[in-house]
């Protein structure tokens, strides 16, 4: 069975290669090929999963080594895979949700002339993401890490003719590269500390390394996670990334790629467990982002950007949980999986709405759509209930566990983190209700698009609704399936070494509080957006609202410091290069030229002058010789 692991990556990679190199001949069939290969990967994943279930919990990890990638004295990196419970979870999520989104894209991208290429990029993404989660060393993980970054870049900028899309793609790649810098430094640190960066040897040797080194490695890994998972301070790219086609937002910027940071931290659990300072920073980053994303999500009128804010916030939950250590890892991953279902479903719903509304994204121009798009409404509604943590649905189980774990951290920290997660739950309920009400309820506020076509909302084709229904199914039942009886925790036990936490207040009380804050959030949103008509033009709003609309001024800060500052720096360096560095050279040349111009005047062309200089020279020589002799 182990030998199938490479095929998991290989199938979509083959698809990407064929689709991207195949040329126009594949325009008609390319999307089917792409979907088929993603599905092949999913079924291989299922087969491996079945095989894994047949073994004892401790023997489930599988390894496959293909060949040596880089080998230099002392530095050894292999193309080798490791499939354990954690990777398996991701494999199923990536290929499962991935396949559904491939199917969805067949309908969504139907009218795009570059659909073949879109599927090529999607396949490339699936391959890279699988490589990321299957790698058995950090360098190969880095390979996948950058690979998903590339796929994300290509897909955000898929509509390259739009300057905004091209800029957003570039921004995403650059911000991610800052995170990648963290990952490379982490690998270098591992290499100098442990002499290797393969998972097994590194994790086995963590207790021999100094805590300072481990903290440094942990912080660098966190930097990487911040870049990929859009956590503060590297979160600014995610909102702009919504320029990409909606299936991309669903797959890459909601369900899978942005959760890679959580994977990285949970995978490196042994390092973080031995570096409490790094863990504390992880929880702080998670908590800050949780609130940051939620606040931004409240103010956005663009449906996808509101959902992007929500993604950021939910990943904040996961990062926070991962920072809690063994009591939180399993819940981080559980929330990651349920979030994968409901957030992908929500994005696909948003795409379906846009599909019916002439690609309008402003929620202030929606309204009353529930009658026109019943399937979309139902699936979106279920996703909505799941994300706000409505009792019984997926989000309820996973989020509640994280809140409990946060309280269980103990001490002042526990109370602060717990309160933040509760507050986040309230805001989540608020902004999601807002999205729901503005889109599907209220009166119609539809506006004709730029070319004057009035929208005629209609339900999307089957290829789009079926994936939405399946994801809604997951949004409803996954949580209960995982959560009841701690199935999921037990499954991940060999990887995460789960410890039971003991929150200072009873679990029941926490659950009650969670439900209560959710109801409050929903209530406030209903009062604001359900009872009153929604203005088509956004009101000016309070200072906080205006700041939140601008991503809490993060972009303005980035622009002022990095973009403007950087532009000035490069301009002045270009100037320095031209006038100073090159100037010295050209100045030397000019002064040599000037000197020779002056010396040239001695050559006046009269033979006599030359003769005099010869005589003079001879006389001087003779005189010198005589003088030397005399001395």
């Amino acid at each position: 069975m182990e030998n199938l692991i490479a095929l998991l990556v290989g199938a979509p990679l083959l698809g990407a290669a064929v689709l991207l190199c195949g040329g126009r001949r594949l325009d008609k069939s390319g999307h089917w090929l792409g979907t088929l290969l993603a599905a092949v990967s999913f079924f291989i994943g299922l087969a491996l999963f079945a095989d894994m279930l047949g073994k004892g919990a401790e023997d489930r990890a599988m390894h496959q080594r293909l060949f040596t990638w880089i080998s230099v004295d002392g530095f050894q990196a292999d193309i080798a895979f490791q499939l354990d419970q954690l990777s398996m979870t991701f494999v199923l999520l990536i290929t499962g949700v991935g396949t559904l989104i491939h199917v969805y894209s067949i309908g969504y991208m139907e009218h795009d002339e570059r659909r073949r290429r879109f599927f090529g990029y999607l396949n490339l993404f699936v391959a890279a993401m699988l490589l990321l989660v299957l790698a058995d060393n950090f360098l190969l993980l880095y390979f996948g890490w950058e690979g998903v970054g590339l796929a994300s870049y290509l897909l955000i900028g898929f509509w390259q003719h739009k300057p905004t899309a091209a800029t957003a793609a570039k921004k995403a790649f650059l911000v991610n590269r800052v995170g990648d810098m963290g990952l490379s430094i982490a690998i270098m640190l591992m290499f100098t500390t442990f002499g290797t960066f393969a998972f097994g040897p590194v994790f086995a040797a963590t207790d021999e390394a100094s805590e300072g080194k481990l903290t440094a490695i942990g912080l660098m890994l966190l930097l990487a996670a911040c870049g990929k998972s859009a956590q503060v301070p590297l979160q600014s790219w995610l909102g702009d990334a919504m320029e990409g086609p909606t299936p991309v937002s669903a797959l890459i910027h909601a369900a899978t790629m942005v959760t890679a940071g959580v994977y990285l931290i949970v995978r490196s659990a042994d390092i973080f467990n031995a570096a409490p300072d790094a863990q504390l920073v992880v929880t702080v980053v998670g908590a800050v982002t949780l609130l940051f994303g939620a606040i931004v999500g409240c103010a956005k009128d663009d449906i996808k950007k509101a959902l992007a804010g929500s993604t950021m916030s939910q990943i904040g939950y996961m990062i926070l949980a991962a920072g809690l250590g063994p009591i939180g890892y399993a819940f981080a991953i559980m929330h990651l999986v349920t979030h994968g279902f409901f957030k992908a479903g929500l994005f696909l719903g948003a795409g379906s709405v846009m599909h019916g509304m002439n690609d309008e994204v402003d929620m202030r121009r929606y309204g009353g759509l529930r009658k026109y798009m019943p399937v979309t409404f139902a699936t979106f509604g279920l996703g909505y209930l799941a994300i706000i943590g409505f009792p019984g649905l997926s989000g309820f189980f996973s989020k509640d566990k994280i809140i409990e774990a946060a309280f269980a951290k103990g001490g002042t920290e526990g109370w602060i983190l717990g309160s933040v997660t509760l507050l986040g739950a309230a805001i989540t309920a608020y902004y999601m209700t807002r999205v729901m009400l503005m889109t599907f309820f209220g009166e119609k506020r539809w506006q004709p698009d730029a070319e004057g076509h009035a929208p005629h909302p209609h339900e999307s084709p089957k290829s789009m609704t079926i994936p939405m229904v399946l994801l809604a199914f997951g949004s409803v039942f996954a949580g209960a399936f995982f959560g009841i009886g701690d199935r999921f925790v037990a499954w991940l036990e060999p990887v995460t070494n789960f410890e039971h936490g003991h929150p200072p207040i009873s679990a029941g009380a926490i659950t009650g509080a969670t439900v209560a804050v959710m109801v409050i959030g929903v209530g406030i949103a209903y009062l604001q957006y359900g009872r009153r008509p929604v203005p088509v033009v956004a009101p000016r709003g309070s200072l906080l609202t205006r700041a939140a609309r601008r991503d809490l001024l993060q972009d303005d800060f980035n622009h002022a410091v990095f973009v403007t500052g950087g532009t000035h720096l490069t301009r002045s360096l270009v100037y320095v290069d031209h006038t100073l560095v090159d100037g010295v050279v050209n100045g030397t040349a000019a002064s040599v030229g000037g000197l020779s111009g002056r010396l040239r005047k001695l050559q006046n062309g009269y033979a006599r002058t030359y003769a005099v200089s010869m005589f003079g020279g001879t006389a001087v020589l003779i005189a010198a010789t005589l003088l030397m002799r005399a001395v």
């Binding site: 990638w69 880089i70 080998s71 390979f143 950058e146 690979g147 490379s184 270098m188 360096l573």
Partner: protein
């Protein structure tokens, strides 16, 4: 006596150059095909050298030695180590693509104002450069190397000054003036470097009594040749200066953007991907091999200069308005990485630097040649004159992007392997330098993606609307290069196998050991 394989490998392009130059003026196409065939024959010979080289064997293999100038102990001594083999392979690999890419660059222009361009001369000069570069990678006699190091300036001077880029803003006279400025600057810079090196070569002869690299290194190693500390340092500086000009290292770099900007794209590739590698190669072979103590003494300063090159080159690249100058500054940044890797004095760093030389050659060739195809279509080098090319010429844009991704060292493409090795090797010895160099990966992404965004994406510009996509000849240039990039990115073993033993020798030359990992050191 065994078959003089190394001599033949260098002689084939040299003889080919003479034959190409002798083709009658009217048979221009025949000259092109002849040049291409000769370069392919050289590639075959280089492959034979690669195959015959035994990684586990002696340090210098396939050696040849003949007396040349007896009175001064100058010998015609050849031999290759793994580093030389890798670079010979790179040179032989790139030249056919350079010739193919420059197929029409030296065709006579139809318009009256331009002068007649000797096509034969163009290809003959390229082959001449190839011969000299290959021979310089083989030379183990310092004097022989010096002669070649200087002699290759002559054909390069004519290639830069005589066959400029036709896409030039401004009048023909202005273009000619710019070109001749660039060519003269190239020549003067390198001649000054060469002159200082000549002084050092003579100094070395005075101290050592002969020019043989192997003999001097051996005598130094076993203590029979003592060298005063200050003498060694002066000689080292003399050699290093010449190589730093050639490489080029900040602040001796300003000739490169001019030369690469004014030359045609294939010649620009010849400069940065092939000829400049002689500089970094010589640092490894001569600076470290002959003056190990002085190398260690100078390391801190050189590491700082290399770091400045990395960051400065990348930042200035961001600010460029000319596509080719941008690639030139990117190369300066990359040469910073190579020099950093060499002087980090770790096996990872030096293996990485050697791989970097090869990979940078291929990746820059891919990027620069596609850029050249683009420029020849639109007739402008300015980034601002492009926009939306992706829509009209998707294959061109795609290959350009791959070239760019190779330049920013994306994993899966060859440059990643070498860049990461250099970074790890540097970090192991100088953590702060390693971290500063790592910022280079962000800056590389910045200049590459800005270039791609401004030229390829966005609304289609009016002048760009009719650009044709890549033609078969151009595809024949780009696709093999990309294939090599991907192959070496995933499976660099053929190269590392050859390079690793050579790096071990260099490490023992400078008597350095890799730092032990903390965990092992604690035990």
């Amino acid at each position: 006596m065994s078959f003089p394989l190394l001599t033949v490998t260098a002689a084939v392009p040299a003889v080919g150059a003479i034959l190409t130059a002798a083709v009658p003026a009217a048979r221009r196409t025949a000259a092109k095909w002849l040049a291409l065939l000769v370069s392919l024959a050289t590639l075959v010979l280089a492959a034979v050298v690669f195959a015959r080289f035994e990684p586990g064997g002696d340090r210098y293999q396939l050696t040849e030695s003949h007396a040349w100038i007896k009175d001064f102990g100058v010998r015609y001594e050849l031999g290759v180590d793994g580093i030389g083999v890798a670079l010979i392979a790179l040179t032989a690999l790139l030249i056919p693509f350079v010739i193919l890419a420059g197929w029409h660059d030296a065709d006579p222009l139809e318009t009256k104002s331009s002068r007649w361009r000797p096509t034969q001369g163009f290809f003959a000069l390229i082959l001449m450069v190839e011969a000299m570069v290959i021979l310089s990678f083989e030379a183990t006699d310092v004097f022989l190397f010096y002669i070649l190091f200087e002699a290759m300036l002559i054909p390069m001077y004519f290639l830069i000054g005589g066959f400029g880029d036709r896409a030039h803003a401004g009048s023909d006279e202005n273009a000619a003036a710019q070109r001749s400025y660039a060519a003269v600057k190239f020549l003067l810079y390198n001649l000054v470097g060469g002159l200082i090196m000549l002084a050092a070569v003579i100094g070395l002869y005075v101290v050592a009594g002969n020019f043989s690299l192997t003999e001097i290194a051996e005598a130094r190693a076993n203590g029979s040749l003592e060298m005063a500390t200050s003498t060694e340092r002066w000689l080292f500086l003399g050699f290093f200066f010449a190589f730093a000009v050639k490489a080029p290292l900040w602040p001796l770099h300003t000739w490169l953007p001019n030369a690469m900007g004014e030359a045609t794209a294939p010649v620009a590739v010849l400069i940065t991907a092939v000829v400049d590698k002689v500089g970094t190669f010589a640092m490894l072979r001569f600076c470290l091999g002959l003056f190990p103590e002085a190398s260690k003494w100078a390391t801190p300063a050189i590491v700082v200069l290399a770091l400045i090159s990395i960051v400065y080159g990348a930042l200035v690249a961001v600010g460029q308005r000319d596509i080719k100058r941008l690639v030139a500054y990117a190369s300066i940044s990359h040469f910073g990485f190579i020099i950093l890797g060499i002087f980090a004095m770790t096996t990872q760093g030096q293996s990485g630097a050697t791989l970097y030389m090869v990979n940078h050659g291929i990746s820059t060739a891919a990027l620069m040649l596609v850029a050249g195809f683009l420029i020849s279509r639109r007739g402008s080098r300015l980034i601002a004159d492009y926009g939306g090319v992706q829509k009209v010429a998707p294959v061109l844009a795609g290959t350009f992007l791959i070239g760019g991704l190779a330049t920013l060292s994306l994993p899966g493409l060859a440059p990643f392997v070498s860049e990461f090795l250099v970074l790890v090797g540097t970090y192991a010895r100088y953590p702060v330098a390693g971290i500063i160099a790592t910022t280079g990966i962000v800056l590389a992404a910045l200049y590459t993606l800005v270039l791609y965004q401004r030229t390829m994406t966005g609304p289609v510009k009016e002048e760009v609307r009719t650009l044709p996509d890549l033609r078969p000849r151009e595809l024949a240039v780009v696709i093999p290069l990309i294939a090599v990039l991907i192959f070496l990115g995933v499976f660099p073993k053929p190269l590392t196998d050859v390079v690793n033993p050579a790096v071990q020798h260099t490490m023992s030359d400078v008597q350095q050991k890799d730092p032990t990992p903390e965990v092992e050191a604690a035990k």
